[in-house]
Symmetry: C2
Subunit: 158 residues, 2 copies
């Protein structure tokens, strides 16, 4: 029962036309879920997980584990990063998946998404393609993870 | 025939395990599509369109038109901003929709997406919720549009 209550409330507000955007309470709920989740990162190698864990540590969030699943099929979908996260949800008992892949069509750059175990998107961040920004994969994944956490109100002094 | 060729090529690369990320060519294809598209922005009011057009002008992209469609249903989906874009695609003859809405669950902040007339995602950008960053809607939409265009390699001097 993490988000059902806030989704139900927000849906009623949207339906009635009274929705004024996200609330402090909803954001706190997301932070709370992330703090208490068993986290996995689907990936071919462990590099991304290490980088992500460096960022999680900055916010005192417990580390993620590497999940060894084949996510090649995700690139055939309309939203590869989101599909990769769903594949990981379906093949692990994690509460939270942090997946990274292409945002949309080839050329659309990268997307890093936090997804809960019901396949719902909690937060995300994106970067241009490698050939545009020319930074290392490590630096890019670090920045994206940081952006995604800041997006839902995580602050370093917490 | 804008993206079919690059999607086919990238899919083969992904299948064979030789995909090394986005290519210059794919990005140029996206830029080219955006430059020559009839663009609409679904929205209740015209404010967002004006702001988006200010940014498009900086890159010499022709202005978008306001599209008056009811997108309230989008907030009931798992990805409200993406659903909003699809609703607009289905109810207009535009080549490109720029839609803005919530990224995921309540609290997950905003997402601005560029979608082609086959519902494919070309680029996107996101911001934290209003109550976190406390900037005006105009400033936020301006920044998101700029980010989304820079993500696919648009530069001011072009
Ligand atoms: C398969 C794949 C792809 O084609 N493009 C990207 C974006 C990039 O090049 O930065 C990514 C992250 C990816 O996993
Ligand atoms: C309906 C809706 C919603 O609930 N939350 C947001 C994110 C925010 O508050 O910044 C947006 C953009 C929105 O359109």
């Amino acid at each position: 029962m993490a988000f059902e209550e806030s989704i139900k409330k927000a849906s009623i507000q949207s339906y009635e036309g009274s929705r004024k955007g996200d609330t402090e309470e909803e954001i706190k709920e997301i932070q709370n879920y992330i703090r208490n989740a068993k986290i996995v990162v689907p990936n071919k190698n462990g590099i991304k997980v290490e980088v992500i864990n460096e960022v999680l540590k900055r916010f005192k969030i417990p580390p993620a584990e590497h999940l060894d699943v084949n996510t090649n099929y995700a690139d055939f979908s309309r939203t590869p990063a989101i599909s990769k996260a769903k594949i990981a949800i379906d093949q692990s008992d994690a509460d939270l998946v942090i997946a990274r892949g292409r945002l949309g069509i080839p050329g659309s750059g990268s997307f890093l998404v936090f997804m809960d175990n019901k396949s719902r998107i909690l937060t995300a961040a994106s970067s241009p393609s490698h050939i545009i920004h020319k930074q290392s994969l490590e630096k890019t994944v670090y920045r994206e993870t940081l952006d995604a956490l800041k997006k839902v109100g995580f602050k370093e002094e917490m």
